[in-house]
Symmetry: C2
Subunit: 170 residues, 2 copies
């Protein structure tokens, strides 16, 4: 099987993609570290919780939404809990379960820092994209996500598919 190398055009796209994603994440991390005292991921966790009904989610669901491993999440929630922004409760129905709840303080931090964050996201990204490009970006990334998530799921038979709610800006 001979390698299907990238075409020059694909190479350019790939390089640009890598560079852009690194730079964007970096800029956002710095901004949030500055203004909210936490990296982007931690902010996203708070944001995900704030969107959930009752401002709470089971660890596994939270991990799925934020696209990180459970172990990474355990650590992150540990810190957020220490900071008083999140509280852990145990799940009544499933005694194995652990539920992360956004505290009022956590909500306050989120509300206080959200405007700055959105402004950053805007100035980094959306202020420079046309309507059309926003659509293209959504299309491209959405497709990627769909495919990548399917891969990690049983392929043989029907998938018992459940969906949940959710809005806002992580």
């Amino acid at each position: 099987m001979t390698t299907r190398w990238l075409t020059p055009k694909e190479q350019r796209a790939w390089r640009a993609y890598i560079a852009a994603t690194f730079l964007v994440e970096d800029a956002i991390d710095r901004q949030l570290q500055q203004d909210a005292g936490m990296p982007h991921l931690y902010y996203s966790i708070l944001a995900s919780l704030s969107d959930a009904p009752e401002r709470q989610l089971r660890m596994t669901d939270l991990a799925e939404r934020t696209k990180i491993t459970r172990s990474r999440l355990t650590y992150a929630v540990g810190r957020l809990e220490k900071d008083g922004l999140v509280r852990r409760e145990n799940c009544r129905w499933d005694k194995r379960g652990s539920i992360a709840v956004l505290t009022d303080e956590g909500m306050e931090v989120l509300e206080r820092t959200a405007p700055g964050h959105v402004e950053t996201v805007r100035s980094l990204l959306f202020d420079h994209l046309t309507e059309e490009q926003v659509g293209q970006l959504e299309e491209i990334c959405g497709g990627l996500v769909r495919r990548l998530q399917e891969d990690e799921r049983p392929t043989t038979d029907e998938v018992p598919w459940r969906r949940r709610s959710s809005p806002s800006c992580s």
Copy 2:
């Protein structure tokens, strides 16, 4: 100044973008960790070196190309050096300078693992994008990069701009 929140469409795009970039980086990191015993960034460092004339670059240039901090690079090159894939030399013209050189062994690792890596990038990304979308992606990301790099540069007067060569797939 009232906050310019994201429109629903922008929110969707942003979420998809975050999810996609996380998932893609993760998948690539896992693949490379498996097959090359190193995370994506480290592979990219080797790839950057392999593209450079004489297969070598000064630390700062290497950091600039890979979009990471100097300190992070120092650590990474430290490990690659320990593994024998990179060698450090000191710059003759500038005694402060340190030069990272890709060793033959490093080149071998790269050549051995490149096909698998490209295949992954393809199956993750390009196999599912139309020609048009590849163009869009390049356009969007390229624009981002240009803007983000300008920001970290003196804005007032002329920038003594130097460019170097480079091809391939990081």
